[in-house]
Amino acid sequence: MSLILLLTQQMSLYLVIVYLVSKTPLFKLFAETSPRLPHKIFMYLIFSSFCIMATYFGEQTSGAIANTRAMGAVLGGLLGGPVTGFLVGLTGGLHRYSMGGFTEIACAISTTLEGLSAGMISFYLRRTDKSELIYNPLLVCLVTFYAEMMQMSIILLVARPFDDAWELVRQIAPPMLLVNSVGAALFMSMIRDQKTMFDKLSSSFSTKALKIAERSVGLLSKGFNEESSSRVAQIVIEETNVGAVAITDREKLLAFIGIGADHHLPGTPISSKITLEAINQNKVMFADGVEMPYSCSISSNCRLGSSLVIPLRSDTEVIGTIKLYEPKNKLFLNINRTLGEGIARLLSNQILYGRFEQQQNLLTQAELKLLQAQVNPHFLFNALNTISAIIKRDPDMSKQLLQQLSQFLRINLKRTTGLVTLGDELDHIASYLTIEKARFIDKLQVSIAIPESLYHCKVPAFTLQPIIENAVKHGTSHMIEQGQIKVTGKLKNDVLELEVTDNAGLYQPVEGSEGLGMNLVHKRIQNIFGEQYGVTVECEADELTRVTIRLPIENTEISNMDTRS
């Protein structure tokens, strides 16, 4: 009976060690389902030392040693595989051999075989995709039991004199079988629990991170400002349940949600020292409220007690921070610390993407300006020539044309690149066409059939005019017969469809200069409204070219956005 207690004592020591290890990152090495070489080495070292310690601390009983060596060998084999198991067993066995006694050979052989056979079982389980069984305490218990039975048999077979061996086995078999099996099972159950907990934790962590990512996607890419920041802060606080969340740019607070929102007011300059430090040093700052005290820089009554400040980066430059707070009565969870850094990376990427998009927009607008500048001199030149040709013969008409030309230029000059009504765009087109018709007279016929009910629809400025100009410049002006241009418009499920059809049929997609105007209109529509809209062209050679512009209307959110940018 005392032997059982002694062995249990010994086993308890190991369990305490394992418990301690399970609290360190080293624990992950136990839980690794498909161990790699460094892990195997780690297992070998750990379990070999278990075996050796077990032999040392074992009880001298009738010239032999009652011990818990089997635990080390079996666990080493199960967790490390056949090779590791064999080596653990061999090491433990050789060590045991060096200690002498009449069972030295029997013990050396049996320990080696224990490690090896546990390893074989583990190998088989992994092969048959039942690797989770390895962590099953009951299985471990049975394997150890079987291993100890084997040891006893080997002692009986190998150790001489047989009578002594028999006597020994009678004494040590029950306690060793019991303690080793139970101990190994307990050990494994500890590892399993830790593993389950860790898995749960990391899956809830990933779920949180994914949820935040999903909900905040696209928010900051629309612009890093008070509005978008406060929406992001709201999402973060809902998903993390921290006390408060703040977002700042380099100078001021953009959003603050949660405890203390009464005195942390968006728009006020940053006053907290650790925030400024985080910005200046591009470093994550953490005031846990214990080792590094946190106190609100605004109000002494603030209930917030700890704060994590993470810089938001665009490339390498810090453009702001995101801050997570917990109140004084709550601990700042480690998981929220890691999560916070993840959120900051996510937001940084979004801001970067937004800036990239904005630059793309600017580029398109610059291209558009360039296009306006390119078109005008040509058109202007022709217009002036036409006016000059008729000025003597028909002064009234030339005066009228000059007025139209000046009207056209006025609109071109003052017009922004934002949204205008379709009616405005058509006025602009009318000025343009008056001049072109004066140049081509009966060779150009234009019919515009757009219902007046659509005149209030908002379209990007210079959407229709460049397309009509293209139809004249690259289409009807090359015709010997009369050129006809038809412009129609209709509304289909909140999508405005404008069609410009000429009867020249000369569209050639490869022609660079022709592409420019149309491409810009297309790119701009896609930029503002999305990929499903834009400009499409169909052409029947020498018969017709039809350009269709498709864009959504009544989308106030989008139109507001555009005027802002």
Binding site: N385, K392, R393, I441, K443, H478, M479, I480, E481
Partner: protein
């Protein structure tokens, strides 16, 4: 009197020039044309001595128009251009007369002075295209421009010159001589030119040969041109 033709696709530009020329006592305007096809007709009919020719015109430019004219009946040409920098350089290099739009009355009168002194047409070859890409034609009253690669053969008869393509036969103002000089078509008969690409079959006859085109038309080959035609395909 100098007979003159105005060719410009813009009505007001033609009228302005006509107004200016109307003040000259020795200039008679025999016609105004809005494109190259009309111009070819008018040149053949009215045989003007002088042409004011805009070089930017739809489908067939002023330069192409000149390439289509029979060099033997070439009138004197004064080019008119709005902004063709390249052409202006060429005019300067070869001392051709040209006017810039909008037309300056003083410059016009200087040009007319030069023209009165010397109405001999200049050799236009240096600035006109060597090869014609488009053939102006008409069937009935409809104007048509046929790409040269679509032409199978051309022939002349009493009513004029005809262009045959897979889509049928149309009339043209161009002479066989112009086709022979400015297109890949080869002469196979006194009245016929054929595109080598269009030949599907050559049948030898006592009188020469007969070509069948890809469209199934028969084109006669006289003995005089048979040898060169055979050589074109590597037959001796």
């Amino acid at each position: 009197m100098i007979t003159c033709l105005i060719v410009d696709d813009e009505l007001f530009a033609r009228e302005e020039l006509a107004d200016l020329l109307g003040q000259e006592h020795d200039i008679e305007i025999v016609g105004q044309c809005a494109n190259a096809i009309e111009a070819l007709q008018s040149i053949a009919k009215d045989k003007p001595q002088l042409i004011f020719l805009d070089i930017q015109m739809p489908r067939i430019s002023g330069m192409e128009l000149i390439a289509m004219l029979d060099p033997d009946n070439m009138p004197k040409i004064v080019f008119v251009t709005a902004y063709d920098e390249f052409a202006v350089k060429a005019f300067d290099n070869h001392a051709f007369d040209y006017l810039l739009k909008p037309i300056d009355a003083e410059r016009l009168s200087k040009t007319l002075t030069r023209v009165r002194k010397n109405l001999t047409p200049q050799i236009m070859d240096p600035i006109t295209p060597k090869r014609l890409e488009h053939i102006p034609c008409y069937s009935g009253n409809k104007l048509k421009v046929i790409a040269i690669q679509d032409v199978e053969y051309v022939f002349s008869d009493l009513s004029g010159v005809h262009v045959a393509s897979a889509k049928g036969k149309v009339h043209t103002q161009l002479t066989l001589k112009v086709f022979e000089e400015k297109t890949p078509l080869v002469r196979c008969h006194r009245q016929y030119l054929i595109s080598p690409k269009a030949i599907a079959e050559i049948e030898l006859l006592d009188t020469g040969a007969e070509v069948t085109t890809h469209s199934g038309d028969k084109v006669p080959v006289s003995r005089r041109y048979l040898k060169s035609l055979k050589q074109l395909f590597g037959f001796q």
